[in-house]
């Protein structure tokens, strides 16, 4: 235990625990479900996690700044539908342009959120709840309730999901999952090594100190929302490629799933703590449970939402109870090794309770 303490920060422990949990759950279902450990299971989970994982990374950036982006589900649906419609009318648009279009559309929608939150000083939960409804309504209005159909889409897009980037033994890394992996790696890197990432954490941990340290907090919060929108746009493209048939309700509920993935993955809802990688693990954990339960008990859609809710509650509860204890244990320990004097605190606030 002591060796463990010396090597890892509490947050890293949390990620290790998540990985252990995922492995434990896999082993459990392996004993329950016939043929569970097959390449097919891996492919199924990895493709289904791609959309939520990409959105969860964007969501993490926003939550790190003490905000939240509830509009991502509508942005995913909007871009998937609009890009799909454009493609069905013009099959010749080059793939790169299609991806860029989806990302740009998402970024524009994200920038509206960002403007209102960072510069308009409207609480993020209000702004994004508003745009969640607004973007969806615009989609319903322009679609006339028609759907995008797979047979109208260009062949390259329809054939995208089974494309393999590489194979690890019998396990295939599909392109869509690879895109998600790439997003996680890039943003994990930015979060830990780029100045922008460092400032993101600083703003979430202590907005006042960030202001005094003299960096543009508003612009950073704005950028976080733009990136969250852009990633939701990218997820919209992945969504389109994966399903082909897009209705006006596409992407509904992704906002909840992305928040759940982030929170389960150790991103503190009050900002300043957590990482894109953690959110990715959270997304995987949720998807593994979700996918496996359906195969195991054939549970209904309704129970899946209940499960998601339960996981969020569990994650937050462990965060407040267990992580706090861990942190305390850690600091006691470290103070012992440092042999420094006990923290000196001035007693209480000026006012009586």
């Amino acid at each position: 235990m002591n060796a463990l303490r010396r090597r890892f920060q509490p947050e890293q422990i949390r990620e290790l625990v998540l990985i252990a949990l995922i492995i434990g759950i896999l082993i459990f279902f392996g004993t329950q479900i016939e043929n569970y450990f097959s390449p097919r299971t891996f492919t199924r989970i990895s493709t289904s996690v791609a959309v939520v994982a990409i959105v969860a990374v964007g969501q993490t950036l926003v939550i790190l700044t003490r905000n939240i982006d509830l509009s991502v589900g509508s942005i995913v649906g909007f871009t998937a539908y609009v890009v799909g419609t454009i493609l069905s009318r013009n099959n010749d648009i080059p793939p790169v342009a299609v991806v860029l279009l989806a990302v740009a559309m998402g970024a524009v929608m994200g920038s509206i959120n960002g403007l209102l939150v960072a510069y308009g000083r409207v609480p993020a939960i209000i702004v994004t709840l508003g745009t969640l409804a607004l973007y969806r309504t615009i989609l319903v209005e322009i679609s006339g309730a028609n759907s995008v159909l797979t047979n109208e889409l260009p062949r390259w897009l329809v054939n995208l999901p089974p494309v393999n980037v590489l194979s690890l033994g019998a396990l295939d890394i599909r392109l869509l999952f690879f895109i998600a992996l790439l997003v996680v790696v890039i943003f994990q890197f930015i979060a830990s090594y780029a100045a922008w990432g460092r400032r993101l954490y600083a703003i979430g941990s202590n907005p006042d100190a960030a202001r005094i340290a003299g960096f543009p907090a508003q612009r950073i919060v704005f950028t976080a929302f733009v990136l969250s929108g852009a990633l939701a746009g990218l997820a919209g493209f992945v969504f389109l490629a994966r399903f082909g048939n897009i209705t006006v309700v596409a992407g509904q509920g992704v906002e909840l799933q992305s928040v759940a993935a982030a929170v389960v993955g150790g991103v503190n809802i009050n900002g300043g703590l957590g990482s894109p990688f953690g959110a990715f693990l959270g997304a995987i954990l949720i998807d593994v449970i979700d996918n496996s339960l359906i195969r195991w008990l054939a549970i209904s859609e309704f129970w899946r939402d209940a499960l998601l809710g339960l996981l969020i509650l569990l994650a937050v509860a462990t965060d407040t109870v267990i992580m706090n204890r861990l942190r305390k244990a850690w600091s006691r320990h470290e103070l012992q090794i440092s042999g420094s004097e006990a923290p000196v605190e001035k007693g209480g606030s000026h006012h009586a309770a």
Binding site: Y193, A194, A353
Partner: protein, 513 residues
């Protein structure tokens, strides 16, 4: 005024001591409150007044000693119990519920008024209490939007509704205008004639001597004196005596700044002001000089610091920095000029507690640590942090430890490192030794002296009078947003500075509104 020998005391505090870690907050303090008297409690910041109030209201329990109510020992465990015993406190900032109306606020603490609110009776009773106090206030009006004085009237009415016998007033006049003070004193008079014992904590000498029947001085947690207010003729000499008693600490206990030759003029400030906050602040500061800012709580010294660093910019007056007139509107701008501000609010404005020592130190200067790709050169960052750890003797096993885990003194040094790393020419230190232990304090004093010797200009805002006197080349004294004067090292004594801080001194520089 009642004669203490005939009247039985309401509340007696007997030999109370209280210790917080290293600080002896109260040592064997005894105080007696009689019905119908106004008892003033005065002392410097940190003399133990707040602790004494908190013991009376049940926030803290004394280590030794006891409280007697009507001659019987009582144990007060929380403010609710204090209230039921008839002890209540009101503070500088009244604690009213802005969305409830006046009547609801007055009766907020009543639990025996039944489950269902009888609105008619509530309003009638509230109006009756306000009428007793001769306060004209619509009881149906929401408390939001009431003036501070009106809010205090509501709090006093609340105390009366609870049949309060001892009312503690903690600097109730600090935010009031002269006219509002008159109103408040009228209310205090009404309470006194109802037989309520009032413990009045105040910083303004003229008010204390106007309202108090008795005056008690606390210093360093000890009771220094307790006396009946003198007659008008003897009042001036009594005032002087009281001020002497308040400040009697030894300056020689402190490390004194090493004298260095004064360098070039760094900054001139003329008539700096911010509407409603401070006005008429004028001073020069040179390289290698420590300019102390002395004053009591509410003197607005911190606000001047915030203005000079562009956090809450000033709106009048001029600043000439390094020979050029400047308008400092943002912290970025202040940093570019070479000004750094080390806040008194370590946890709020100063440090990002969950982040490591190294990341905290480089936060304002992160740009210097980026490579061509905009990525942080962690090696350099680490080296900088280790340099400061060695130079300022930050006691930690690693610079990657979360700052929140360090002791107060070490946190203070991290904050200093953070701003020294910005390579300032003018360093504003706001309460740099508050809440840190003696050893860390001495180390911070050495650091300050050393920095001045290296040619930094330093503004030292401190409520610790002996510290200011020992560390400063000159001392600027403020009182309630006004500059009361600048004293040279030889002129500045505890008496002269405290007298100016308490308003017994005419401003030496012109003050323009």
């Amino acid at each position: 005024m009642p004669n203490p020998t005939e009247v039985r005391p309401v509340l007696e505090i007997r030999h109370v001591s209280k210790r917080f870690d290293a600080t002896q907050a109260l040592e064997d303090v005894s105080l007696t409150l009689y019905p119908g008297e106004v008892h003033a409690l005065i002392g410097e910041n940190g003399a133990g007044k707040s602790t004494l109030i908190k013991i009376m209201t049940g926030v803290h329990r004394p280590d030794t000693g006891e409280l007697l109510l009507d001659g019987k020992p009582v144990h007060v465990n929380n403010s609710q119990e204090a209230q039921s015993l008839g002890i209540a406190a009101i503070y500088q900032e009244p604690m009213v519920f802005p969305d409830l109306n006046v009547a609801e606020n007055i009766f907020i603490s009543h639990r025996k008024r039944g489950m269902i609110v009888n609105w008619g009776r509530l309003y009638k009773d509230a109006a009756a209490i306000l009428a007793q106090l001769d306060v004209r206030l619509d009881v149906r009006m929401p408390a939001r939007g009431l003036t501070l004085a009106a809010q205090q009237a509501v709090e006093i009415a609340k105390a009366i509704s609870l049949n309060v016998r001892v009312l503690i007033m903690d600097e109730p006049t600090a935010s009031l205008s002269a006219h509002e003070v008159d109103q408040l004193f009228r209310l205090i008079g009404a309470l006194r004639s109802k037989g309520v014992a009032i413990l009045f904590i105040g910083h303004r000498m003229e008010e204390v001597f106007r309202i108090a029947d008795r005056i008690t001085v606390l210093r360093d947690g000890k009771l220094i004196s307790s006396r009946v207010r003198a007659s008008a003729a003897e009042l001036p000499s009594q005032r002087e005596q009281v001020i002497r008693e308040m400040v009697g600490r030894e300056v020689s206990d402190f490390f004194a700044k090493i004298e260095v030759p004064r360098g070039d003029l760094l900054m001139s400030v003329r008539n700096l002001g911010k509407a409603g906050v401070f006005t008429g602040v004028s001073f020069d500061i040179h390289a290698g000089e420590v300019l102390g800012f002395a004053g009591l709580i509410g003197a607005r010294r911190t606000d001047v610091g915030l203005a000079l660093f562009g956090i809450e910019p000033a709106d009048s007056g001029e600043i000439i920095f390094n020979g050029r007139p400047v308008q400092i509107k943002t912290p970025e701008h202040a940093m570019q000029l070479g000004i750094a501000y080390v806040t008194e609010d370590r946890r709020g404005l100063g440090l990002t507690l969950p982040m490591s020592i190294a990341t905290n130190i480089t936060l304002p200067t992160l740009r210097r640590y980026l490579n061509g790709l905009g990525l942080i050169r962690r090696g350099d960052e680490q080296r900088t942090a280790e340099e400061y750890r060695d130079r300022l003797m930050i006691r930690t096993p690693s610079v990657n430890l979360e700052v929140g885990k360090l002791s107060g003194g070490n946190q203070q040094k991290v904050m200093l490192s953070k701003w020294l790393n910005a390579r300032p020419r003018l360093l504003i230190l706001d309460e740099p030794t508050r809440g840190i232990d003696v050893r860390a304090k001495a180390e911070v004093h050495h650091i300050i002296s050393d920095l001045a010797a290296r040619g930094l200009g330093i503004i030292l805002i401190s409520s610790d009078l002996p510290e200011v006197l020992a560390m400063s080349d000159r001392v600027l004294v403020m009182r309630e947003g006004r500059q009361m004067g600048i004293f040279t090292r030889s002129e500045a004594t505890q008496e002269t500075v405290m007298t100016a801080a308490m308003g017994q001194h005419e401003p030496t520089l012109a003050v323009q509104p």
